[in-house]
């Protein structure tokens, strides 16, 4: 146990002090700070003056109600009546005097029509907004023509009342679902990132120790299994440090900007008041998922003898986590499909997919227990195999990295009795 601590703290300390860790952490922190201040940053770069749009009103009656409507919508667009010819107006748009030109006409049915000219019609929301406003104007004119008064119109336009009620007791309400969805999203991304980043770190660490040949001294002083798990834990601690740092800074920022952000991003993701159990499940599945993939990464890392080969050997593992990720992303839409149910029992997908089901559906406890059981069983088996491969793998130096090596490593550590 003592050696476990020594190796773990060494793994942790040497990583924490490394330049790459400090730099990547600082960059991520800057990113978080940037994200929290997104609104302000956008405002800095946003055009301060209103967009000016030249309007040629051939009907002579549309411009007035139209600009009133646009103004009421609160968009920062200024409608300017233009008296010259269309050609002059187009020239002025090209010279940048106006941002766009809009001609308003009445067609045969006395309904408004418009043509919008701008230097480029890509993206920018102005034309969509103008189109919508014109549509409204048209509706208003049409109803007026058919003699419907404003009150009736409002009644027509009011959305129909539509409520959803789940009959199953304990089933998620719409509100709970949206909250769960938010947590599931966050958990999926975190687990995905953690496996890719920290799994890579473990495998690289092991391969580095092998390629520098310091491994032989290490495994002669401490059992390879202790070494492997101490390494996994050391990197886990590192991850924890990073996450605590990120969450801490993020929380501090949010707390300081409480007013600006309420009702925004966080309401969408539903992280305001959710039941505590989903957080517990998130932590449990996260930890189990980390151990599953970390064990695999350590085992794979022990098979290569050059750091350059790590990537190649990690590919299958990255594919697994990618597949899990996509199943989970797909499953958010249809959490109760058979496909999702089945894959939630496959241990490599369980941490993501089962968590998704727990969050989104009302799952009997035994199902969750069963999948966690399978997952823990797999981790233990993988740990045992990993430890043996690791023991053999760290003594094995060769250029290739294949299934053959896997078997060779197993044989090297085998007791022939």
């Amino acid at each position: 146990m003592n050696k476990f601590w020594i190796i773990m703290s060494h793994t942790y300390m040497s990583r924490v002090k490394s330049k790459s860790f400090v730099i990547s952490t600082v960059i991520t922190l800057l990113f978080i700070v940037g994200l929290a201040n997104f609104q302000s940053i956008i405002e800095i770069f946003a055009d301060e003056s209103d967009d000016r749009i030249a309007v040629m009103d051939e009907s002579n009656e549309l411009l007035e109600p139209f600009s009133r409507q646009v103004e009421a919508s609160g968009e920062s667009v200024e409608m300017v009546s233009f008296d010259g010819t269309e050609e002059e107006a187009k020239d002025m748009v090209q010279e940048g005097e106006f941002d766009a030109l809009m001609t308003l006409t009445l067609n045969d049915e006395e309904m408004p029509e418009a043509t919008y000219y701008a230097n480029s019609i890509s993206g920018n929301g102005n034309q969509t907004m103008l189109e919508m406003q014109l549509q409204q104007l048209k509706v208003a004119m049409a109803t007026q023509q058919s003699g419907i008064d404003a009150e009736t119109l409002a009644a027509i336009q009011a959305p129909a009342a539509f409520q959803t009620v789940a009959l199953d007791e304990g089933s998620r309400t719409e509100e709970e679902l949206s909250q769960a969805r938010g947590i599931v999203y966050i958990m999926l991304f975190l687990l995905y990132m953690a496996v890719i980043v920290y799994g890579q770190m473990i495998a690289t660490d092991v391969a580095t120790e092998k390629s520098s040949r310091v491994m032989e001294i290490l495994v002669s002083s401490a059992p390879p299994v202790t070494h492997m798990f101490a390494k996994i834990m050391g990197v886990a601690m590192l991850g924890l440090t990073q996450v605590v740092l990120f969450v801490g800074v993020g929380y501090a920022l949010i707390a300081s900007k409480q007013d600006e952000l309420t009702g925004g991003f966080f309401e969408v993701f539903g992280i305001q008041d959710t039941s505590i159990s989903i957080y517990i499940f998130a932590i449990v599945f996260f930890i189990l998922g980390y151990f599953l993939y970390a064990t695999m990464a350590a085992m794979l890392g022990s098979l290569v003898s050059r750091v350059e080969d790590v990537q190649q050997l990690l590919m299958p593992m990255i594919f697994l986590i990618l597949i899990a990720f996509f199943i989970a992303m797909f499953g958010i839409g249809v959490p109760d499909s058979t496909f999702v149910t089945i894959s939630s029992y496959i241990p490599f997908f369980t941490p993501m997919v089962m968590f998704l089901r727990v969050g989104m559906l009302d799952i009997p406890a035994w199902e969750v227990a069963l999948s966690i059981g399978i997952l823990i069983g797999t981790i233990v088996v993988l740990g045992l195999i990993g430890a043996r491969v690791y023991k053999g793998g760290v003594l094995m130096y060769g250029k290739s990295s294949s299934l053959k090596d896997f078997r060779k490593a197993m044989a090297l550590s085998k007791k022939d009795k």
Binding site: R213, S220, D416
Partner: protein
């Protein structure tokens, strides 16, 4: 406190790396382990350290099997040298020393005295990758002995060092032996083993071909070397009875003879033929024994 290998065999699939090796390595002695490339030396060391399990047979230190509980009394210098390139000598040794059951202060005290001894105290805070290969090897050696092991295993400790550093390291090894460390070391260089080891074993393709004390090995080998420098042709000695091999040198010849008696017959035969500048009967060198024992099966 003896290291005992009993009938140890290691097979990798169909390949037998070590074949029925039995050794008794006495306490506080230096034991030389010789063998060509791929003879099974490193495999034997790895089995002694418990990194590999023997297919058959047992290995005990002081009557008990060797496992990780004993790692603090065992020191190991692997053949493939390796340290963390990015760590400083100090960080490195603290980590490795702790893994061998030391505490930080002891490591630092010991490390200072070792660096002093190897005349490189300025390396304490240097990264290993900045050191030359020879100096890295000194650091590696320190990492093997810093915890004052009872049993020290050195796999090719002197390879790749210049003569001055070889002497420095040799002295250190001898001192450790004087202080009561049992040392097993392997080498390709016969003269080191001849000079330092009381007991030895020559391994060939996994099997011990010669083993025992240096004296016994030499005596049981029987053959002697005879160097003759004379002012007349010595060609006739080539086919002389009892001469095993004949090698012409610039000043005369070097003979390998079956036993001491043959030398006396040759001595008599040379009488009256002319001026003899040198007639020298020598012990066979370990090199001769190695070449004969190992080389024989190459043919």
């Amino acid at each position: 406190m003896t290291l005992l290998l009993e009938n140890v065999t290691k097979r990798f699939g169909k390949h037998t790396a070590v074949n029925h090796l039995s050794l008794k390595i006495p306490e506080k002695e230096m034991f030389g382990f010789l063998g060509g490339n791929g003879a099974g030396k490193t495999t034997t060391f790895r089995m002694i350290l418990g990194l590999l399990d023997a297919t058959e047979g047992s290995i005990t230190w002081n009557g008990e099997p060797i496992n990780y509980d004993k790692s603090h009394v065992i020191g190991y210098l692997p053949e493939e040298r390796g340290l963390y390139p990015k760590l400083t000598v100090k960080e490195q040794l603290i980590y490795l020393g702790k893994l061998r059951g030391m505490n930080k202060n002891d490591v630092l005290t010991e490390l200072d005295s070792w660096l002093e001894r190897f005349k490189v105290p300025e390396y304490l805070n240097k990264k290993v990758e900045e050191l030359s290969k020879g100096n890295q090897q000194k650091i590696q050696f320190i990492s093997a002995v810093i915890h004052k092991p009872e049993l020290l295993i050195l796999d090719e400790p002197f390879s790749g060092l210049d003569p001055i550093n070889v002497e420095m390291l040799k002295e250190a090894v001898v001192d450790l032996k004087e202080q009561g460390t049992s040392i097993v070391f392997s080498s390709h260089q016969m003269d080191h083993v001849e000079e330092m080891c009381k007991h030895l074993c020559i391994l060939h393709k996994g099997s011990p071909v010669v083993q025992g004390s240096l004296r016994e090995v030499k005596e049981s080998f029987g053959k002697k070397n005879l160097v003759v420098h004379a002012a007349f042709p010595l060609e006739f000695l080539r086919d002389y009875r009892g001469v095993v091999s004949y090698k012409k040198t610039t000043e005369g010849c070097e003979l390998q003879i079956e036993n001491e008696e043959v030398s006396q017959e040759i001595f008599a035969a040379l009488q009256g033929k002319g001026f003899i500048r040198k007639f020298d009967l020598e012990e066979p060198s370990l090199n001769d024994i190695f070449i004969e024992k190992v080389g024989a099966s190459y043919e």
